[in-house]
């Protein structure tokens, strides 16, 4: 499952841009169009692009499945913990870090953290799904 040199080289060039763009969409999601879900999907697409061009084995030795699973689970836990810490201040998912003028990065408060956690969760989640499906395909 390896594609030609041209495809491999160009996907190697494009993938870092995809990761950067996904991270930008996640972190600046509350200021510009984007958000955790969209950015997370783009992160997963970067991995899928490398999977299609370089094959399953090489990509999995770079993005270790154990690490991906750990990030996914801890992001899910982090979302719930973020909601529960809001309970201390006022209510579940209360935005207790709100502040600053609108338009700056820190005006979102917990929204930024929530976006980052959701983005990590979605990105790693879809990566795991593709890993499982590809592993199944290679076995058959």
């Amino acid at each position: 499952m390896k594609m030609s040199t041209v495809v491999r080289k160009s996907s190697k060039i494009i993938a870092p841009f995809l990761f950067t763009y996904g991270a930008y969409l996640i972190i600046y999601g509350h200021l510009s169009p984007g958000g955790g879900f969209q950015g997370g999907v783009i992160l997963a697409v970067g991995v899928v692009l490398l999977l299609t061009s370089h094959g399953y084995r090489l990509v999995r030795s770079t993005f270790r499945e154990r690490l991906v699973k750990m990030i996914e689970s801890s992001a899910a836990l982090g979302i719930v913990i973020l909601g529960l810490t809001g309970l201390i201040f006022n209510a579940f998912f209360y935005n207790y870090l709100r502040g600053g003028t609108i338009g700056t990065l820190f005006s979102g408060g917990t929204i930024v953290i929530f976006n980052i956690l959701v983005g990590l969760k979605i990105g790693t989640g879809f990566t795991i799904v593709f890993y499982i499906l590809l592993r199944r395909m290679e076995r058959d």
Partner: protein
Amino acid sequence: MVALILVLILGSMLVTLDYSREVNTEDGEKPTSYEHYVDNWEDVGAANLVVAVLMDWRAYDTMGEAIILFTSIFGFYVLLGGDEDEDVDGG
């Protein structure tokens, strides 16, 4: 037959909902959720209205979606995952 009746009842309910965006505040009616979001979205601190709805007012929804994805990955593992010890090159 029962399913058809239920579908028809639910469908007529959804069709006849009030989708108008007009607010009759002089009649003492409460503003609709649309008006509330558009009027108060600066409270959230986000410059993006969609994110303000998704991550603040409807944060439960977003968390539920994340949990749905978690559950689906769980299902993937149970049905297709199988041998995890295939991580030959060390993990």
